[in-house]
Subunit: 431 residues, 2 copies
């Protein structure tokens, strides 16, 4: 991975960071790096994520899915249990004859339609929940199982489970004899893309798991005590520093459709890890060039509260634009769509700089397993570094418990005071 | 449409708005309403958008697509030329036997794959560009045309154009005898969902255009000079007031998959219309319940800079959760996915209130043409009101021109000083 922070310097942008401030920050990076290295060495909760490329056993995952030859894979999971898997297959397997779907919401219309459309007899279901107690995931799995029954399909022959050591899903896997993989120890869902949690659909779709993990290992090897040597830390440190200077929004804007879900994955990673104690940069999911025609006006001329992260592969496949005599468009004829997209990438970056708005450029070599594995690892490492710099508990998400209790109370799943608060909502209705 | 601003009051949230401040704001709403009503009466640029439900001729659109019986519709357009059309068909026609795709980016890998997958002989192409000079749209159209030629398909028999009175696309339509529809006068793309620009694919997919327009007309009839009487103005005024009080981010979070693209459409509308002169609320696209497992931690415990807009239909189709003996989940069995989703909706809203974070509830009757037409109209009206309150030029997007010139210069499409700035980029590369 290659990170260019030139357009985040105070000489180019406001907010921006001076060279002196960057040097001072680099000393804090060295301290943070010590803390992180210790956490990795001790396999401490969360820090253990950075050991996944070394620890994940690709052969075991491939063995678990051997013998399946489906037309579709259906991931039943939510949040970190789905986003990594979707990110990887979208980036690397969109050409696969196998389709990957994720049931990551409990919308009745959507679930119903998806089950109507899926070739259930040729679909492998991958159910993912660390605790085995995620309400949305269990509810969806019950509905899927029922639909398979109704279609005369033996769901137990086509279901793979990834879960923790104990819990309802583990019990179910044991009682039904389902292939079951372990979620990695000590790793929150949003940091588990490069593990069983993120790799099962990819394995079925013939993604090069070894390449992905090798990319991750290259990221781990590149971790250093200076942001000037380590692209992951350059990114994490600069994002943090810009937030401190007012860039409270980080627009993640890949210029490649295969990374559209990566921006979603990033948004979870950044929001849940850093959004704490009244702070944390708000991630915004964008897509170049499409969002030039949607968000760029705001990024250039709105509040000075944004860092725009532009991401691209340095190599793209060809897709030539035919020669044309359409008036005014002769200049496009004979060029390539990728050339046009790269010109727009550079133009957007420069247009932000011309308006003194900070951006950071992140480049991959190309859209292959190694580069994507490296990207995911490096962005996780950047997030963990940022967590140290902010001084937050990067690996927890305590603020979501309240709502879970409230929902459970509303559904008569127990006595929860939170449900009372829901019933007492203040109303001021206009209709 | 029904808007509940109870959880945006200062008694419930920080930032929040007091009843007194709301009353004071209501006087400004009355003034803004005068300005808007005059703009509508004179069909002034932009304000004319609010006349579309009255003016759009559904019969003419239906006549233009009569005789087409495709397996797929491909919209070639970008920004406002695609988002409205996608929003409408996703909300109302996801059950259609016809698939709707949008080519709204110039990613070579994606374009290539889509053209490989599409049944070209059974695909109708809808090319949309007001000016007829949008580089991405023209480039994509040239590529699509070429692919059809190569597949032995006569593209001219399967192409519908929507464009302005003159320009390269108009010339092409005339020289090739293509069915051509007019973009409405005086309406920027992002405000043109309820016109030829947004309705052509919907017409082919048997969406009830009359219902959509009737919903829009109901919104127009409900415009009034008080936010207490008009849900559109309640929403626009409160979003503005909260931004003034620090809620610089507006997370649009529908709790229904059919409105996922609506959040994208909203993001363009809000960002391009209001992101000006150093101000404007940053729209964030979210989806409930999925993003509870991704963004909610940040929304509840991060900076107090967010308004969360939760949207739902008041009626949902059934999708029962089977009875279960899975430990701890008996309470879900026999309920419905929609009940679970609604409990999560209310729980999220209450969990934000419990953390003193503002939210606004927007409710549709159900996911039908009339309600969706009303929603789109009301959100446009809210945006126009907010533009008046901010005092910005709601209907222009001047900040995007710089990048267009730069990209064109880079592609040897003329002499543009902006291209020079791109070449002089400041670099600080870490790899």
């Amino acid at each position: 991975m290659r990170v260019d922070i030139g357009n985040a310097l105070a000489s180019e942008a406001d907010p921006g960071i001076t060279r002196d401030a960057l040097d001072a920050l680099d000393e804090r990076v060295a301290d943070a790096r010590d803390r992180i290295a210790n956490g990795m060495a001790d396999d401490e909760f969360g820090y253990a994520a950075l050991n996944l490329p070394e620890r994940t056993d690709a052969d075991k995952i491939e063995a678990a899915v051997e013998g399946f030859d489906p037309e579709a894979v259906l991931t039943v999971g939510i949040g970190g249990s789905a986003l990594g898997a979707v990110t990887i297959t979208e980036a690397l397997a969109s050409d696969s004859p196998i389709d990957h779907y994720a049931l990551d919401n409990v919308d009745p219309a959507h679930v119903d339609r998806l089950l109507d459309d899926l070739p259930l007899a040729e679909t492998v279901v991958h159910v993912v929940s660390r605790s085995g107690t995620t309400a949305e995931t269990l509810a969806n799995f019950l509905v899927v199982r029922d639909a398979m029954d109704a279609a005369g399909v033996d769901w137990a022959d086509q279901t793979v489970v990834t879960t923790g050591e104990s819990g309802p899903l583990r019990d179910l896997a044991e009682s039904e004899g389902l292939p079951a993989l372990d979620v990695p120890d000590g790793v929150p869902g949003r940091f588990s893309a490069l593990s069983t949690v993120g790799l099962v659909p990819a394995a079925m779709m013939d993604v090069d798991l070894d390449g992905l993990l090798a990319g991750g290992r290259a990221g781990a090897d590149a971790l250093s005590d200076s942001l000037y040597d380590c692209p992951a830390y350059a990114y994490g440190a600069v994002a943090y520093a810009l937030d401190e200077r007012g860039a409270s929004v980080n627009a993640m804007m890949p210029y490649v459709e295969g990374l559209e879900s990566f921006a979603e994955w990033f948004a979870q990673l950044w929001a849940e890890s850093l959004g704490k104690g009244g702070g944390g940069q708000t991630p915004v999911r964008a897509l170049g060039a499409t969002d030039q025609h949607s968000q760029l006006q705001l990024y250039r001329a709105g509040p000075r509260d944004k860092l725009v992260t532009v991401v691209r592969p340095r190599e793209r496949p060809d897709c030539p634009i035919p020669e044309t005599d359409v008036a005014d468009f002769e200049y496009l004829g004979g060029q390539d769509l990728g050339t046009l997209l790269d010109a727009e990438f550079e133009a957007t970056e420069a247009s932000l700089a011309a308006a003194d708005r900070p951006s950071v450029r992140v480049e991959l070599d190309r859209m292959d397993a190694e580069s994507v594995g490296r990207l995911l690892f490096d962005v996780e490492a950047a997030c963990i570094l940022a967590g140290e710099l902010y001084g937050v508990e990067t690996f927890t998400q305590p603020a979501v418990e309240w709502g879970k209790n409230a929902a459970r109370g509303l559904l008569d799943g127990g006595d929860f005071a939170e449900a009372e608060a829901v019933r007492e909502k203040t109303k001021l209705v206009v209709e």
